[in-house]
């Protein structure tokens, strides 16, 4: 299909759908971007009361209601750790699930149940457990555990999608050619799985970065970004929220754009070297 020069009509129909979906996705985001440039007197709804960069400055100004930069730093750190652990644990588990083993059904349904168990209660229960053992709750202990009960099922199911129809012959061939288990994993299995693993890493990072209900009752005495935002909307209202959204998007585009450019350059150089 790929080498047909002429596109079938479905291409145009789906391209249209894709465009509409992106419009739908970015429509309200656009509202965020516009409203973040509200004048100092304006609020979080239309009309605009002048334009300014006041609310961006507000994010960085110390002593405000919410300490966004610090909370942002903590969220990034926590999300990175969650993402790393999720990748390690769910890749291993995904491999394990390729065979029948006793208890596989139990683990599977535990994962499903963990996705639906009301998040507030998961956090609450973990908090009670920590108290029982006299452990100090904190972002990198109890909150980390609470978030893993959320990202791991996602990671596991994503790995199911990755391993589904994964051609095991490659692995077996590697074994037959004398590769050790480690060599096989390093040189055969992981490269094939890499796109999927990156997906899990990105996905679990996003889930953790945005997690509220599981974290709130076991966060210890430091807030993550969502907790700070939620606290903020409970007693104040300002376009600072939207400024955060705009900055996040800008930074995402910047990071992704740079990475992509680097990868493309690297590929070109490699291609040139091969020639």
């Amino acid at each position: 299909m790929r080498h047909h020069a002429r596109r079938p009509w479905t291409f145009y129909a789906l391209a249209m759908l894709m465009t509409l979906f992106l419009l739908f996705l970015y429509g309200p985001m656009l509202v965020i971007y516009i409203l973040s440039f509200q004048g100092p007197e304006g609020g979080v709804t239309f009309p605009m009361v002048g334009t300014s960069t006041f609310w961006f400055e507000e994010i960085l100004r110390p002593g405000q209601m919410a300490n966004i930069p610090a909370a942002f730093g903590r969220s990034i750190l926590l999300a990175s750790l969650v993402s790393l652990l999720t990748v390690l644990i769910s890749v291993a588990a995904g491999m394990g699930f390729r065979r029948r083993f006793p208890g596989s059904g139990l683990i599977f349904y535990l994962a499903v149940a963990s996705l639906v168990m009301p998040s507030l209660l998961v956090g609450f229960g973990i908090g009670l457990g920590f108290q029982l053992f006299g452990w100090q709750p904190g972002l990198f202990t109890s909150a980390l555990a609470a978030q893993l009960t959320w990202t791991l099922p996602f990671g596991l199911f994503a790995m199911f999608a990755v391993f589904n129809r994964f051609n095991r012959a490659y692995e077996e061939a590697a074994t037959d050619l004398g590769a050790s288990a480690w060599q096989r994993l390093r040189h055969v299995t992981l490269p094939i799985l890499l796109p999927g693993i990156l997906g899990v890493a990105m996905g679990s990072f996003t889930l953790s970065y945005d997690e509220y209900a599981r974290t709130t009752l076991v966060a210890g005495n430091r807030n993550t970004l969502p907790l700070e935002i939620y606290a903020l909307i409970s007693s104040a209202t300002s376009p600072t929220l939207f400024a955060i959204g705009t900055v996040t998007t800008a930074v995402s585009f910047l990071v992704i754009g740079t990475t992509l450019a680097l990868v493309i350059r690297l590929q070109r150089r490699r291609a040139a070297a091969l020639r």
Partner: protein, 424 residues
């Protein structure tokens, strides 16, 4: 910002004096030893009080470190149980005291250690207004949850004792917020909330006790219901009220049931809603956007509420002494001035006054027109010269409480009925 006569040395001297006076039974003088520098007090609070400027100032004045963590009120309540060890002192709604006392979460504070007790408003200490009138006892009146029967703090005492469940800090009174440009007629009573003229343009707070009390105020003044105690209804009263609320909901009266400050402001600012019960800072927030919005005094009076500062059970020794010292600092005015600039009242108003300019005091507490432009706590202008606070002076607003926010005896039943109401 003037803060006459207030310095660390001043406080230090006072506390040593107090300690000497109390016979140093608790080893109080040791508090000023070198090792208090290593103490960190974790204050879990509301977004309006858990501000860095308060923490910095307290740390500077007291010699130990205070750190703030802001969170939403209901989350804060549950954190008392899920992670009590991560909290040292906390803002506690007086209604939540009904849930907490008896659950072994807070420790009592000896009344003798409270330095500013004589400056605390009698509404909290005795249930009386400043002029000696008895205040409403409907709902959870602050003084009814202030005193504990014993040091263990397992139950409330009906009258003053030597043990406080927590220290009074913030109070305010809520009423209806309206869009004067859109309601089209004068609003004078809670009954107007249910006027069919505002069909599809009224809102309630999605919180069982607050929501039902607002409706009860409206039903009662409309002559459609009468209550023994609106803040503590019987099952029959709950049934009848919820029944009428269902009819009103089906008739399309309510545009929304809001659950956050942000939501209530946006409902009003966008014109989705023109009449709803509101917090006064939410009204100010709508107004600073150039939207006409009034915090409307009503003839039946206000729905009052308050927050106290509580000390967690697990604090002992030096850290406990520091927490008590912090509570005294908290009452001493700096924090009161910061919350005043957001439209909330301190329970020790005369101490807050020392940290306010006279123009600020006149506007926020005395109901006089603002003499100059007044800032919010972050230095941003929030009140224009000549503006007058809705509802007037502190004594007028906090002198006319119809009912207090509440947790009812039939709380369990009410929650069920409320869920039925919201889902239908």
């Amino acid at each position: 910002m003037p803060h006459p006569g207030f310095s660390r040395r001043h406080l230090l001297g006072a506390s040593i004096g107090a300690a000497a006076g109390s016979g140093a039974l608790t080893g109080f003088p040791t508090i000023w030893a070198q090792n208090i520098r290593e103490i960190t007090l974790q204050h879990a609070g509301l977004t309006v009080t858990a501000l860095p400027q308060i923490a910095e100032r307290a740390s500077k004045d007291l010699g130990f470190t205070v750190r703030m963590q802001a969170s939403e009120g209901a989350d804060l309540l549950n954190r008392f149980l899920s992670q009590s060890s991560a909290i040292d002192v906390a803002d506690v709604s007086i209604t939540y005291l009904k849930y907490l006392v008896g659950r072994n979460v807070l420790q009592t504070i000896p009344l003798s250690k409270m330095k500013h007790w004589d400056q605390t408003i009698p509404l909290f200490t005795r249930g009386e207004y400043a002029d000696g009138r008895k205040a409403s006892t409907e709902g959870v009146a602050p003084y009814t949850v202030l005193y504990a029967t014993s040091e263990e703090g397992k139950a409330f005492a009906p009258g003053p004792t030597e043990w406080l469940t927590s220290m009074p800090s913030i109070t305010n009174a809520d009423t209806l917020g309206i869009r004067p440009d859109l309601v089209g007629r004068p609003i004078a009573s809670w009954a107007d909330l249910l006027d069919p003229a505002f069909k599809g343009k009224a809102a309630l707070q999605d919180q069982p006790t607050i929501g039902i009390i607002d409706v009860a105020l409206a039903l009662q003044s409309g002559g459609r219901m009468s209550y023994g105690n609106k803040g503590n209804m019987t099952r029959a009263e709950i049934d009848r009220t919820i029944g009428m609320m269902l009819e009103i909901k089906r008739a399309g009266q309510f545009r929304a049931f809001w659950s956050s400050f942000d939501q209530s402001v946006n409902l009003m600012a966008s014109g989705e809603v023109v009449i709803q019960s509101m917090w006064s800072p939410a009204v100010s927030a709508a107004r600073t956007r150039g939207i006409p919005c009034t915090f409307q005094p009503l003839r039946e009076g206000y729905r009052g509420w308050g927050y106290n500062l509580g000390i967690m059970k697990h604090l002992t020794g030096l850290k406990r002494d520091c927490a008590i010292e912090y509570a005294n600092w908290y009452a001493s005015g700096f924090e009161g001035a910061v919350i005043a600039r957001q439209g909330y009242y301190s329970c020790q108003p005369e101490l807050a006054r020392k940290h306010l300019t006279s123009a600020e005091w006149d506007y926020w507490y005395d109901g006089k027109p603002a003499a100059t432009e007044l800032p919010d706590p972050f230095g941003k202008p929030s009140v224009k010269p000549g503006e007058v606070r809705d509802g007037g002076a502190f004594s007028a607003r906090m002198g006319n409480i119809a009912v207090w926010n509440s947790v009812m005896d039939e709380d369990r039943y009410l929650t069920r009925k409320w869920n039925e109401f919201i889902t239908s």
